[in-house]
């Protein structure tokens, strides 16, 4: 079991999925051990950073040898909680919400969509994959009968704040927010933003200024 008391910097945490992806690839390639130098080279980061990052969690390597790929892969999965199934609901069954509902990769990593909500009466009852779109008014009742870990917020911009306030009032503790606004939530509610337009603007800037490398 992994032990660590000091909180890990978010810079390190944001690199973990990337390590995880590279390690998955190595596994697929049948590579069973790797050094920090080799992994760093593949990922375009320094070996120091690789070792520094992993040592945050207690050190998974063997001096003179390197890291066991399968073990390291599994440990990162543990740290990220990929072995626990997380139940997600989607709020907003527009094209983006629908696309996320149809995305198969999330469930493979333990993130399972269990229901979809909207408020447009015309679409209530329609099916997306195996889920009928439910009316948002039925969410309180749904939460009584189902455990929900994460709400995916894909509502139109002008409803973002209101809906976020509503779902947090019902006890939702984690929001994956696709609405291009900053949500103000109680401090025990985790928000992770995907601000598509921000990302596109940064791309546009770098394209214009050729700021790549």
């Amino acid at each position: 079991m992994v032990k660590y008391r000091k909180s890990i910097s978010s810079a390190v945490i944001r690199r973990l999925p990337r390590y995880y992806r590279y390690l998955s690839t190595l596994l697929d390639m049948g590579i069973s051990k790797i050094s920090s130098k080799d992994l760093g080279n593949r990922m375009g980061i320094t070996s120091s950073q690789v070792r520094q990052d992993f040592s945050c969690f207690g050190g998974y390597g063997l001096q003179g040898y390197g890291y066991d790929v399968e073990f390291l892969h599994q440990e990162i999965a543990n740290i990220l909680g990929l072995n626990t199934v997380r139940h997600m609901i989607i709020i907003g069954a527009g094209s983006l919400g629908t696309a996320l509902a149809k995305h198969k990769e999330f469930e493979k990593k333990g993130f399972k969509v269990i229901a979809i909500f909207d408020v447009k009466s015309e679409i209530i009852g329609q099916k997306i994959t195996e889920h009928e779109i439910r009316h948002l008014d039925t969410l309180p009742q749904f939460l009584e009968n189902n455990h929900v870990d994460i709400a995916i917020l894909t509502v139109p911009e002008n409803f973002g704040r209101e809906v976020a306030a509503y779902i947090t009032s019902l006890g939702i503790k984690a929001i994956w927010n696709f609405v291009p606004i900053e949500l103000k939530t109680p401090s025990d509610v985790i928000v992770e933003n995907i601000h598509l337009i921000d990302s596109l603007m940064v791309l546009g800037y770098n394209y214009k200024n050729n700021n790549n490398k």
Copy 2:
């Protein structure tokens, strides 16, 4: 006209869309001037950072007064190039590609989808919004007749590398990549990643560890 020689750090650039959003809101509220202190408070950052950021581009404020909201808003739009229309093509007409094609907010900020490509013969010719899905084989010809700034990559994971290599070989210089892989591209090709699963894993981690604030 804005002048600056030294390249601006990417930390600053990534904050610009956020400033832009806040300034849009202020404009909507009819607020015409704002101090770095007030703006910082609203955004949850220090006034120092606000001033430091804007001073990278030459300083837009007036001592003793603050910043003119409309002017600042316009200047950030200029820096980000939002006044220039960028032509985008979508490669991969799955649910995610389709959702992005239907998204109306991009065009409002100058990012216009002009064509959609895929390779599945069953869907070639089908319409998404006003665009017929074209076969990827017709891309070279399309590029001869149309200016394209940005390619949005929404193909399945196993085709990501191949398709990226193909489109860069055809002269594409900017890729908005939704495929959960690292693209290796020539140094004059800009890549901006949206790694949905990475973001979700970070959310899962913070949810588990309640690492929010």
